[in-house]
Amino acid sequence: MEFAMKNLSRRIFILLFLLLFAGSSLLAAPSASPSAEREIRVSGNIAKAVENARPGDVLRIVAGLYEETEITIKTSRISLLADPGAIIDGGGKGHIFIINADSVTIDGFKLRNTGLSHVRDWAAIRVESAVFAEIRNNELENNMFGIYLSRTKDSLIENNRISGGGDRESNSGNGIHLFDTERIQVRGNIIQHHRDGIYLEFAKEVRITDNKATDNRRYGLHYMFSKDSEYSRNEFRRNNAGVAVMYSQNVDMSGNIFADNLGPASYGILLKDIDNSLIGNNHFLNNTIGIYSEGSNNVRVEHNRFERNGWAVKIWANSTRNVFTGNAFTDNTFDVATNSSRHYNTFERNYWSAYDGYDLEGDGIGDVPHRPVRLYSIIVERNPIALILHRSLFIDFLDLAERVMPALTPQTLVDDYPLMKSPLP
């Protein structure tokens, strides 16, 4: 409810803002046109062409291989548009583009080989202290960092294909890296083989939508110290450790797919110190752990599908006031695991494929409460080696006995209204 209100008020705000903006641009239009826009074709040295450019210029880079590094853009309002087949090779010597001016567009390039540095974060496109940067339709290959924004606002990163280098574990950087940024849109990008696909640190009001982050060496997406942001309709597959959302507030995570994140420390989502957030309508499929929650409070987890995970949800006792409702838990080895018998979270009106109660009234809600924490999961938590007893008759007996007379599983972690059918299509 709180979210709905917030969304509504945000929408009204955006609408007002747009109206205002449209009005002022109409007024401003006549005076803006005299500064003639030049379109310049560039086939030689790009850095030199950039240096000679005037505000408003469009530089069209013709097809060819350019061997340049540290092309520094200090003039605002210039666009660099690459013809198909325009490639800049950094030759392993540093950044390729450094943008240090407002309203700069980089579109359609193939950028490769920044090289690796021990102390410097080399990026194919580095934006430093700017506003209104637009980075679109580029193909980035074998760079340390792909797109790196620092102290930058109101910018767009759209439809780029970003792929990191071979198997160099420790020195590789992130595909899209946002440090100290506000109001950045990241959409429709494909990011592979980097350390983190998308990394945010001290970011505000960032929207990450319709991206695909797969096969990254650490996390598909990694939030640190960020707030008031959204990531939705993204796909995170086969990342070494899944997605980590850490030390952040007010994050909206909706409509994403988290799949095949497998490994001893691999998660659909790792939540660490997260407050006032929403996890809605996501699909958690075949992960070691679907959601792992530590020190996270007031997170709503609703209408998600948890299918064939090792653990659908692992929630530590230092996570409180979280609400799980309207979710479907299907064929997970463990639906819910925790480390304490005390518990301050709510599980209500979820569907559990492991539920073996009945519905005599026929109202779609099981007549017997469901306890999703198996005694076996608590035993495994204390002695991981007990996993070898999985699917043994002995464990079935233990679970049955515990269900009849709960002694070790948390008394309060119970779904009093378990759904008989999955609420999700």
């Binding site: 102390v119 850490m246 660490k272």
Partner: protein
Amino acid sequence: MKLRVNLLLTALLFLMLQACEPAPKDILIGHDECAYCRMIISDKPFGSQIVSTTGKTWFFDSVECLAAYELDHRIEQERIHSRWVPDFENPDNWVNAWHARFLYSEELRSPMGLNLSAYQSETDAERNREAYGGELKAWRGVLELVNEAWLDGNGTLPETN
């Protein structure tokens, strides 16, 4: 003869004691998790560790996480044998935190944002301070910094050892 046996026994005993001395272990970069923040450790020049008196190790992705782990009472003081940080100039080298120099510099970004790098030699630390700016600290200064920045000053600073 007897002297020789005695010598041999002493040598053996010495070797056994040597073997028992708790020592830092290698961190598996890209796989091991930070015991404090749970992040996968992927920056070798920052990965640190606590070694207990029984030889158990806790790995951290950064110097600041090691400090916070201790300040936040996640481990009892009497269980700690030693704390190890990597020499930024040569990350294969483990340096005892109490003997290391630390550079606190915005220009050398660490995984958890407090931007602390560690050095075995004072000269290396000083050279990097000149190159990147910032402030040099000893371990106690690091503990104080992390205590203020992360724990609102509520952590417990350990006695010097």
